[in-house]
Symmetry: C2
Subunit: 137 residues, 2 copies
């Protein structure tokens, strides 16, 4: 079976990007859709590739890093030397990802703090203006 296919605007609207963006990715060789006549025809695999690219972008990777990441999966790694290099690469990437995760946790903690301050401040101002504290004598 040939599998489902997508038009460029299908994918653009699904992922919330412009068609220009997707064509740009093609210019850079990140995706190479088939054509029916003039028009681009995206396969499921193409769709996943774009999805992975956008995932990478969300955490601040460049497009090049995104492809590098994706290309780690397909085994153009024949000899032991290349495999070792890839493992080293994986190691480095893991470290960076873990650092990012830590950064995010720190920022989430910061948000909790900010929100708590806000809510306290709101409760306080409401207490002083509108509704008198029912616990008062």
């Amino acid at each position: 079976m040939t599998g489902k296919t997508y038009s460029i605007s299908d994918l653009a609207s699904e992922f919330g990007v412009t068609t220009r963006t997707i064509r740009f990715y093609e210019e850079k060789g990140l995706v190479v859709p088939l054509r029916q006549g003039q028009k681009r025809l995206y396969s499921g695999a193409d769709r996943v590739r774009i999805k992975l690219i956008l995932r990478g972008k969300r955490i601040g990777m460049t497009l090049q890093e995104c492809v590098d990441f994706i290309d780690m999966y397909d085994p153009e790694h024949n000899n032991a030397e290349q495999l070792q290099a890839l493992i080293e690469d994986v190691k480095g990437r893991r470290e960076r990802l873990l650092q990012q995760k830590k950064d995010i946790d720190d920022m989430l903690a910061g948000l909790d703090e900010v929100q708590a301050l806000c809510e306290a401040s709101l409760a306080d101002s409401r207490g002083r203006t509108a509704t008198p504290d029912p616990r008062k004598p």
Copy 2:
């Protein structure tokens, strides 16, 4: 007490960036160090600010987003309206951060997978060439 201070190259080397970068942040108003004469003199607070900026950058925030984030802490938010808006802002940021965290976990899982494949492949090739499997009859 006046607290510890830092030269621009102190901070640059500590954070692994160039002095140009730090001056650029000043151009953009992200840090405003004191001066002694001509030279910039960074306080502990300045240092933290830069640290937070770089943290934001690591997870793909723009410099503007970084300052916005940092500025959430200091309460220029007087009235209830502003506080509510800030809480909404926090909500949005939290969602994005959680999404990013999910993205990272997915990518970490991918790395595990890649590494497992690599190691299996290495073990296999070693098994076929150098050391015969000792468990063989």
